[in-house]
Amino acid sequence: MYTAELQKTARIASTEDPDKLAAFEARVAADEFIEPKDWMPEAYRRTLTRQISQHAHSEIVGMLPEGNWISRAPSLRRKAILLAKVQDEAGHGLYLYSAAETLGTSRQEMIEALHSGKAKYSTIFNYPTLTWADIGAIGWLVDGAAIMNQVPLQRTSYGPYARAMVRVCKEESFHQRQGYEIMMHLAAGTVEQKRMAQDALNRWWWPSLMMFGPPDENSPNTEQSMRWRIKRDTNDDLRQKFVDITKPQADAIGLNVPDPDLRWNEEKGGHDFGEVDWDEFYAVVKGEGPVAKERMKARRDAWEQNAWVREAADAYAQKQIRKREAA
């Protein structure tokens, strides 16, 4: 899973020490990694904290649409796979929260920002999962788009983020393959099953293209983020790559990509494709997605209803300390 890039413009404050800033920029330009205790400009720290925590939130919220289907998976095999995938998403969230914490923001602050609605997460999770085929489409398309975004982040300039991405990418490939396998089986099934697969592709295609973020000309931070090697490819380049890779995968299982303008362009060596509905994208970013409120309520409920587990663990730890002190 991944978060569309939603940064606000990161300006370098004029109060930064120019010598330190120059040394930092030179290190980054030489593809060196920046580590937590190294000097870094405040704008770099802020940009990364926002990006990594949004990414972490997306992994955590990403468990919700899929979690809905664990008890309704069509076989024990599918259920075991989906459980493992959802557990992976939790793991990915934890790797990323840890990476973000090295920049000086506590886990508690990040979780509170998510629950209060202050923090953003990927718009993709504010769409509903209506049928079992949606679980296939999410794995294939949403995790596919996530992989495309995350592979270059394995070389992002901030060491803890890059290392978290190496782990995430290693685990993500199974997510995409199990999704494609679900779609493959449905597409080869009964007429109703194939219709269900096509319907899921129809609904998830455009939101998946939105996962790469706004078009380059409306992405003012891309330049700074690329200069700092936080980002290594532009939104439009990655989107193009995704379309080129995914179209033949849909063809291979007899499903149609829902875009009448999609065709191969020999000259550019890639597909031409239709315009994404950016008004819808910005509306969903602002929290107007079809199930945005439901998602946040489910997340807050899970946190509050399980508070007793955290309290019990705390009480037990305190008791052990007292016991040791008494001994």
Partner: protein
């Protein structure tokens, strides 16, 4: 929970004969739960046969701002490497 549980650094031995290697960190109220969280977070795919957890606050690190004085003295001591010495051809097992 009004504040975060303490942070623990996690080290995994991937198989017998290899040393433990740092893989990341977890929050936990005590050592026992830290080990359980480390298992769930970092060894879901048989990545390890042994785990260490260490309270992060207990780790003392060198200062990156001082890495020059700390590590550069080794730079000009190339005679510590076997390739520094020219041994004529024909002399073997050395």
């Amino acid at each position: 929970m009004s504040k975060d549980w303490p942070l623990w650094e996690v080290f995994v031995r991937s198989k017998g004969g290899l040393s433990h290697r740092h893989v990341g960190s977890v929050h936990a109220p005590d050592a026992e739960i830290a080990v359980r969280h480390a298992r769930d977070t970092y060894t879901r795919r048989m990545e390890g046969v042994s785990l260490w957890v260490v309270p992060s606050a207990q780790i003392i690190a060198s200062d990156p701002a001082e890495d020059g004085p700390m590590f550069e003295p080794a730079e000009d001591k190339i005679y510590r490497h076997p390739t520094f010495y020219n041994i004529p051809d024909g002399i073997s097992h050395i």
